[in-house]
């Protein structure tokens, strides 16, 4: 029989899981790029990888404390954003798309290659970088919580850190988007030439936006690795596409869209993952194997992306008047 309680409680756990927080933060960064500025960044996975590897390598190879490791990761992603932005931000939107997707792949291949195995751990990746953050944990050891939300002190700690960051960055996004800077940014999305005619340096504004959203992605990458190891295979282009799915689901030019989108995405994903897996197990879908049940998810995410873009491009929270897409 199907154990519905387990399926539901697993799904409920996704609501506050660090992974959900990481995807929400990455999607928020993408909202700055894509939703507010109209930059087509397909390399968010690269920014996340820099966060993950920047933090892990500076902790493991150089023994940096947490704050320094975070700074290294941010520095790496700022440099990455500059490298991406300088050749492409003057060009049409699709050039940025191709270059960012290529650059993210370059990063992944560099992290995967055997040549730098000593530093990056190549295909097997890195682990053992969590002690620094764990040492900062003010919660005394033990198990806390109720129902499905019962975790030990470290698990609560990474959840608290993750969601605090999400809230802070959401607040920051809200503040800067109603500032003069944010109005220029939205103006660039609507009509670049008009903004240029007003004497604004569009190139510079776009670059600032690219860097800012990239830093969001870097923090997302650091949260993302707290409940797991750093493995290069996690930073494939499909990671970026998943974040796009979340962003489009919630609404590209919104603050709550990426966050709620991420929660909906992961809760539903977990629920149906659990359901299909059990259903195959008890023989409800005789035409499907367990492995195929796992692949179904990607097929449906792909179809979902197509349907959202075609039928509701502004997402759940979006405003149709505020165009979700650059033309």
């Amino acid at each position: 029989m199907i154990d519905w309680i387990t399926i539901f409680s697993n799904a409920a756990q996704e609501l506050i899981s660090p992974t959900t927080a990481a995807y929400a933060l990455a999607a928020l960064g993408l909202a700055i790029h894509f939703g507010y500025t109209g930059l087509l960044n397909f390399g968010q996975a690269g920014f996340m990888a820099l966060g993950a590897y920047g933090y892990a390598i500076s902790t493991l190879s150089f023994g940096f404390p947490v704050w320094a490791a975070v700074l290294v990761a941010i520095g790496a992603s700022v440099i990455f954003a500059l490298i991406l932005g300088i050749p492409t931000l003057r060009l049409r939107a699709d050039y940025l798309a191709i270059v960012t997707i290529a650059a993210a792949e370059i990063l992944r291949l560099i992290f995967t290659t055997n040549t730098f195995d000593a530093i990056t751990g190549s295909a097997t990746g890195l682990q053992g970088y969590k002690t620094g953050l764990a040492a900062l944990n003010p919660i005394p050891p033990g198990t806390y919580g109720f129902g499905p939300f019962t975790y030990n002190a470290f698990d609560w700690w990474i959840r608290i850190v993750g969601w605090t960051l999400v809230v802070l960055f959401a607040l920051l996004t809200w503040l800067i988007m109603r500032s003069p800077w944010g109005r220029v940014i939205k103006g660039i999305r609507e009509d670049e030439d008009a903004v240029r005619a007003l004497g604004k340096n569009v190139y510079s504004y776009k670059m600032q936006s690219l860097i800012l959203g990239g830093v969001y992605g870097t923090f997302a990458g650091m949260i993302f690795i707290m409940p797991r190891a750093v493995v290069p295979a996690n930073y494939q282009t499909s990671l970026t596409f998943f974040i796009y799915a979340i962003l489009l689901l919630g609404g590209a030019a919104t603050i709550f869209g990426p966050i709620v989108g991420s929660m909906i995405f992961w809760v539903l994903l977990s629920f149906f993952s659990g359901f299909v897996a059990r259903a195959v197990e008890v023989g409800w879908f005789p035409f499907m194997t367990q492995v195929q049940a796992g692949q179904l998810r990607f097929i449906l995410v792909g179809i979902a992306i197509m349907l959202i873009v075609i039928f509701r491009p502004q997402g759940i929270f979006g405003n149709k008047k505020e165009l979700a897409f650059v033309k």
Binding site: T115, D155, P227, N234, S238, F265, L269, V276, Q295, I299
Partner: protein
């Protein structure tokens, strides 16, 4: 936030239904994770994706082999342990009574082959070249790796010969890239769409040959012909069923591009759903490289592949330059409104471009399946960025630019392995893409115009 009200009032029913479909779509997704979804098994999407293909499969499934013969003074040595390592793959074996060994590997890449000296008899050692050899496949799926035990002579390939071999390899790869790139470039030129699902059209060709040539056991030439016809049909279906209606709705180019990404994701995993995550071989893929041209040894597959590419590319060039419809295609790519005003049926041209572009992509997929070698669900996606790099290098939207760009990418990738590790060879091509954009954003053959 305030926005939802207005929209909800306007058409509450429609978007609720859509949302319902969408949510169920998002969720109806299975899982590969274990039933006991513990705390952090929150399915990281990308990780599973690679688990499947790289999971060490049975040795019999591989068509790429390292073989060798371990002897000492013409006496075979038995029970010597050989290990192969690389690309996240590891395998080991022992030599048989005749001193022979054979290890299958999943990909034609560079591996480290190690002979365990402790398993050699007393007083015998590897004398030259070391007990660990870095081995890379040539044009075939069989690579002999020999260790020099006791006294022996060592054969080395000179730098000049190596350059020649890489040149031919790169040309072969570049030509097959060009087949796919021209289609992508023409589609971009006539419709403005950066079609990320082009990779799946490449994979489709190879999968159809697999279906008809292996599963249904038709002769390979017939299977390839069927595959190309079906690829063309796929192009027609995609245009008529998806892209044309979207153009009619006036959907912008960026949303179209994101739709193509969704399509790419859905198709790719549909392939995996149906064909599984492994790599299968087409008939003849392991033909021996018995045609010697100086230092270069080629198999008849390599020759056939290059000949086909060249013939088809010449035919495409003739079509574009000499035929009426080809000229119309270039006119539409140049300026669609002007072309329409001068009496060209733009929709018909776009349809022809989709059909022929898909057929070319399908053919490229077949050749790519022989070049790799092997057919797998994500084979097209593996070269998608290289195709894009080629198209951008040559100049987005220009057919001949795509050809030049492809040859440069192909040659660059193969030549760069002389200096950089071969698991990083794609990095070079992508870096070149970024550098070219810095200095000549319109591409090599692109016209100087404002693209900002």
């Amino acid at each position: 936030m305030e926005p939802t009200q207005t929209v909800a009032r306007r058409s509450p029913g429609r978007w609720l239904i859509l949302l319902g479909i969408l949510l169920s779509a998002l969720t109806l997704s299975g899982i590969a994770a274990s039933p006991a979804m513990a705390e952090e098994v929150s399915p990281a999407p990308a990780a599973e994706q690679t688990e499947e293909p790289t999971a060490p499969a049975e040795e019999e499934e591989f068509e790429n082999f390292f073989t060798g013969n371990v002897t000492f003074e013409d006496e075979p040595l038995e029970g010597v342990r050989i290990t192969v390592e690389g690309n996240g793959f590891e395998a080991e074996t022992e030599t048989d009574a005749e001193g022979k060994w054979r290890i299958g590997v999943p990909e034609r890449a560079t591996y480290e082959v190690t002979l365990d000296e402790d398993t050699l008899p007393e007083g015998v050692a590897v004398t030259e070249g070391g007990a660990t050899v870095e081995a890379e496949f040539g044009l075939t799926g069989i690579k002999a790796v020999n260790f020099f035990i006791g006294e022996g002579e060592r054969q080395t390939t000179g730098l000049f010969a190596q350059v020649l071999i890489r040149l031919v390899n790169g040309l072969n790869f570049g030509l097959l890239l060009a087949l796919a790139a021209i289609g992508l470039s023409l589609i971009f030129g006539t419709t403005g769409l950066s079609n990320f699902a082009h990779a799946e059209m490449v994979t489709f060709g190879a999968l159809m040959v697999l279906t008809f040539g292996v599963d249904l056991a038709l002769p390979i030439w017939i299977a390839i012909a069927i595959a190309i016809v079906l690829s063309a049909l796929l192009g027609w279906v995609l245009d008529a069923g998806l892209w044309k209606p979207l153009r009619r709705r006036g959907v912008g180019l960026i949303p179209l591009m994101i739709v193509s990404i969704g399509l790419s994701l859905a198709l790719r995993y549909t392939y995996q759903f149906i064909y599984g995550g492994g790599t299968q071989q087409l008939p003849g893929a392991t033909a021996p490289s018995d045609i010697q041209l100086g230092p270069i040894s080629l198999s008849w597959i390599d020759i056939a592949s290059m000949t086909t590419s060249i013939v088809v590319l010449v035919a495409v060039a003739y079509f574009l330059l000499r035929t009426r419809i080809g000229k119309a295609t270039r006119a539409v790519a140049d300026n669609a409104s002007l072309a329409a005003a001068s009496g060209i049926d733009v929709d018909r041209v776009i349809r022809i471009v989709w059909v022929s572009g898909a057929a070319l992509a399908g053919l490229a997929g077949v050749l790519w399946a022989y070049f790799r070698p092997g057919v797998s669900w994500d084979m097209g996606f593996q070269i998608l960025l290289l195709i894009f790099a080629a198209v951008v290098l040559g100049g987005l939207g220009t057919a001949f630019g795509a050809l030049v760009g492809s040859l440069i990418v192909g040659l660059f990738i193969e030549m760069s392995t002389l200096w950089i590790p071969s698991d990083m060879k794609y990095v070079g091509a992508l870096v070149v893409l970024i550098v070219v954009l810095l200095f000549r954003p319109q591409g090599i053959l692109g016209r100087r115009e404002r693209i900002g």
